[in-house]
Symmetry: none
Subunit: 207 residues, 4 copies
DNA sequence: TATGAATGAGAGTTCATTCAT
DNA sequence: GATGAATGAACTCTCATTCAT
């Protein structure tokens, strides 16, 4: 039912999501949705929370498999830029934009976002710490880096979610990796193979 | 009337803005609002467009007065990070979040955003070009810089609009300027005086 | 529209009255009902108030035409006991029962009832004062009389509204007049003609 | 469960009582309430019936202990006017108002009320007969007295249940006893001690 | 006997939009 | 141009009731 709510939100946005849509998608009656979630807002907020948790869990799962800090960072960037295969929940980026707009006037949602954001930053911090420890990365203030880098990724997420004709997933991914490699002092080569294998290329993307 | 619409959107968001609210604020009847704008969506989209134009105009006006490229860039960052005094339209950042979320499902709004974004990037590109020409800045690919830097500023805008307890206007401003100075090779000192004079400090901001 | 609300309440009771019913009866849309009255409760309360006012106005109108105090009192009793021809708003007694029940949990309605009740008592007090002044009535404490007599009439109103098989309008009317004549010391003969002309006799009434 | 229904009705009224409320109060599931009573209306009607029976039983129990007819009548009046200590079911008067309103449109409830009313009148009749037999009371038509007196008590019950600022329990009790003593020819002194001991005094009552 | 899950049938209310004036 | 009146089309939420277990 939360999954149904998630899908509906991706399609219609937080404010446009109707209980009936969720009920239809879940194959139950609208009354049952209320029976479990008490109100529309609670349902959608809960779905947001769960969606963020799933995204984070998927990210952790992937990162855990990768030995190098640089590789882990690349994976995080790949997921954020939608340059990455299966397992990434459909519509995550779109949901972020809704999450941010909703958080402006909804304290519950705002708390969900803050929690997620801090988790995201901490993930980056930890990767940087690890990289410094293994001497993959040069020494930097990991907190400052995390703050700026997560902002950068959020910014790219907007362009990608909105299918900006100038800044698409590929370009954002490359740009983000270039920034990271320069600031953290590791070498990174754009791997054409990887990007070619991705099904996420936006045809609208220019140049 | 567009101004009224803008204010209502800042308060209630794009989807929450009601024609009645706008009419009340403008001191006219709801019927008249429709009479002029034909429909609610057209009104709000128009107000969005105008708001973005105003923001851009204000930014241009300010930049025009500043002789150095670094100074112009700093002004742009200051406006984006809400670390800057009067003249910045109230609630601009909040409106951006609404704009992005709305752009997901509304082609008109999406076009407004793309246009604005490109204008913003071009402004940065031009400043970088100027700075390189006057040798204030070291040589960089101005397009790559503009793409990444505008994304960074968008990312900070989110944190600031949502009053993130960790990343507030001050910290975002400093971080953004540090990134710029490092990449463009100019020197920049955090000027306490400036920040102290700003009324925009968020008390929630940590550290 | 208030009249429509009144009729619906007579038919379905305060809690059973639906906005749709009122709208249908008034020949308008439900939305218009809300447009004017803001909420269902406000509409029904207002209708109650107006109904009571109309009843009181009709009573005053009738009493004004009658020269003797005893005659005026009889008219009041006749209206209360529904032993009286045209002009009495349909369903007044039924509405009283709803009014009382509603007043238990609704302060607005409670205030309406208190106001009406006090007006009713004052009417009786005044008639008694007049009757004493003209020596139609013997001297009594008009306040005590009014309190007890209005209670008696309320009690009969219940029986009549509920079409009690033992206590119908005729019997209640006679009983009430007998009490009044005894306590106020005037002579009163049951006038068969009057009762016979009334169309209000309940066929269910026994004996 | 009937007791739970009774309490809920006192609090929320007949139309406002929800099965869920009753179930919660009884500590069972809503489904079980329906299982036993078949429908909401049957439950509430049954609870009404039982409540009236309990009230009548309590009244009989009390009256049985009192040797004089005048004392028995006083006890009946005391219970009706809520000027009487423990053992009177909480909220009886409030329930009467709901009963009357409900009886307007519900034949089952109407029958309950008629039965109760007739029982009440018969009780008064019997007391009067007894009093005449023992020469406590002067000779009156006991039927006429019962009809009028029960109406009077119903009327006072309304004022008391609605906490009328002018007519509270004390005043109603005194007034009712004065009427009885005058018509039945027995002497009655307001006993301050009794009233003082009662916890039912309404502070809102005037004078 | 007892219940959690499920639902159908509304109910009130909201709100963009229309239209006669 | 300007508005008050009017409405249609939703939408959320409520609640008695059913049913499988």
């Amino acid at each position: 039912m939360l999954e149904a709510a998630r899908r509906v939100m991706v399609e219609r946005g937080f404010p446009g999501a109707r209980i009936t849509d969720v009920a239809d998608r879940a194959g139950v009656s609208p009354a049952l949705v209320i029976y479990y979630f008490k109100s529309k807002d609670k349902l959608l907020t809960e779905a947001m929370r769960q969606s963020e948790d799933l995204w984070y869990a998927e990210m952790s799962r992937r990162a855990a498999k990768i030995p190098s800090a640089a590789g882990r960072l690349e994976e995080v960037v790949a997921m954020t830029c939608h340059v990455s295969g299966n397992g990434v929940p459909e519509g995550s980026l779109e949901l972020w934009l809704d999450l941010w707009a909703q958080a402006l006037r909804d304290q519950e949602v705002r708390a969900v976002r803050e929690e997620f954001d801090e988790r995201f930053r901490e993930t980056i911090r930890q990767i940087v710490r690890d990289g410094i420890a293994t001497e993959e990365f040069s020494e930097v203030d990991e907190d400052e880096f995390a703050v700026a880098y997560s902002a950068l990724l959020d910014g790219f997420a907007i362009q990608i979610a909105l299918e900006d004709p100038v800044v698409g997933p590929e370009r954002a991914f490359d740009a983000a990796m270039r920034v990271a490699s320069r600031q953290l002092g590791f070498t990174w080569e754009a791997r054409r193979a990887r990007r070619a294998s991705s099904g996420r290329q936006r045809t609208r993307e220019a140049r």
